[in-house]
Amino acid sequence: MIQLQNITKQFQTKSGIVRAVDDINLHVEKGEIHGVIGYSGAGKSTLIRCVNLLERPTSGNVQIDGVDLTKLSESELRKTRQKIGMIFQGFNLLKTATVYENVAIPLRLLGYSKKEVATRVDKYLTIVGLTDRQQSYPSQLSGGQKQRVAIARALSQEPEILLSDEATSALDPETTDSILDLLLKINAELGITILLITHEMNVIQKICDQVTVLENGKVVEQGSAINLFTKPAHKTTQKFLNTISQRTLAPSLIEHLNLSGAVTRLTFVGESTGNPLITEAALQFNVKPNILTANIIELKNGVVGNIVTHINGEQADVQKALQFFQASGVITEVLGGTSV
């Protein structure tokens, strides 16, 4: 659906040329929710703005449904943009227009009939749950409500793709959750493909199927959310994971505990989450596993469990226990660098 090929975007600044986006490839399948995560300055905002050519890439091409947007004429580009909705961190509503008008005005400008405008405004304000605020002005709404208006405005053009530029970053956690639920609903019920950028790992966790991790304008890791949460390969990805779940302990503590066994992170995914494996290991082998920290992360497409455990015992026994875990489908990682 969305295919970014070798996208590079350079900016000329006073201190020289800055490469905000550096040779990025990104593919978003129809119907999926794809999240791009990175710290501020990673280039994610520039990247998403390249998708509808709000920012024209210095090189590379942007294909939507196989059509290269960079080669379209201005009027063709406008037509294509109508099929790509966009929501923003700052909502970007008309301050001088009511909720109703905020949704209706773009439709009128795009030439829809009076009747069609009324039907659509009604339909999409109902979907976002704001029918009772039609005559309110943006200044009378909360942040979450403003974002709902912006979502209704984007949806009213019945796009196939929705781009979300940090849409929840200005909202409190509870409101963020409700907006994320709304995005999930849009994706499931209207089949709209969503590409979002964020710096919040919980956004990725709650709604994304696929994830791209960005750093300094480059892709450092890409894959399904489940894979990223179970086997994060890049340091940045691991750091983002640490923001939502405790996956490790203080190095001094690990070093101390490693003298009498192995501090091991067990990552459970899929079927292995259901079995009492730690108890079984304690019974079968001469080890005494002690759970130091544990958490469960609920993803859109599954559950990932992390247990950091101290497997107390002789080296050979610990080794056997680890093999047993691995054989049961658990990902094990001995922390602190001592190989047992």
Binding site: N52, L54, G90, L93, K95
Partner: protein, 223 residues
């Protein structure tokens, strides 16, 4: 009581005529200033580097011309452009002769005020409309100018009050008006009463224009 009725009987016609001249000068000049100043203000914003119709040369030229005109005090401008005034309206005196310099004085000022108002509109909103595939001209009309209406109204109020001040000097080319009345009778003929009355009338006029402008702006603002 007699004093007041005597005063009114004696001066009513003169004051009324002067007020009418002020009203004529202000309303006609304001109309033309809006017709010229608002588009100029919009151009100043739209041709800025990075804006929708970015054109560095045009922008800088326009900027320069407006600055040059704005540098000349009105009293000097009034005489400086006499030949141009004659060319345009056929006379350099009376209300007619005052209108050209008043417009040339007010339009660039209004353009600056409109520019400031338009710059206040968040670029994000314009971008959102661009992302929706809406035409640039439509964005200018339905987003930029619409969102700037409250600030434009306040700018217009300031320009109108500035214009009233300038009309007082227009008396020098025989255009009359309240300011001229105060100057000729109040200062030259030392009729202090008439000076007080005209000043009082001007205060009322400026006050009501300002409150009217504020009210309209607030109504448009919706905050």
């Amino acid at each position: 009581m007699n004093l007041i009725t005597d005063f009114i009987d004696q001066w009513w016609e003169i004051i009324f005529e002067a007020a009418l001249q002020t009203f004529q000068m202000v309303s006609i000049s304001l109309l033309f200033s809006i017709l010229i100043g608002v588009p100029l203000g919009a151009l100043l914003v739209l041709t800025r580097p990075g804006q929708m119709y970015a054109n560095k040369f045009f922008y800088q030229l326009l900027n320069l011309i407006i600055n040059i005109i704005r540098s000349v005090p009105f009293i000097i401008l009034l005489f400086f452009i006499l030949p141009l005034t004659k060319e345009i309206v056929g006379t350099t005196i009376g209300v007619k002769g005052a209108i050209v310099p008043l417009v040339i004085y007010t339009a660039p000022y209004l353009a600056r005020l409109i520019e400031t108002a338009l710059l206040e509109v968040e670029s994000g909103v314009l971008e959102a409309y661009k992302a929706m595939g809406i035409k640039r001209t439509q964005i200018v009309w339905h987003v930029l100018l619409r969102e700037a209406r409250p600030s434009m109204m306040l700018g217009l109020t300031i320009a109108t009050i500035g214009l009233i001040g300038a009309t007082a000097m227009a008396g020098l080319v025989g255009a009359g008006g309240l300011g001229d009345l105060a100057y000729r009778y109040g200062h030259l003929r030392y009729e202090v009463d008439i000076m007080y009355v005209t000043v009082f009338l001007l205060i009322i006029l400026v006050q009501s224009i300002q409150s009217f402008g504020n009210r309209v702006a607030n109504k448009l603002k919706k905050d």
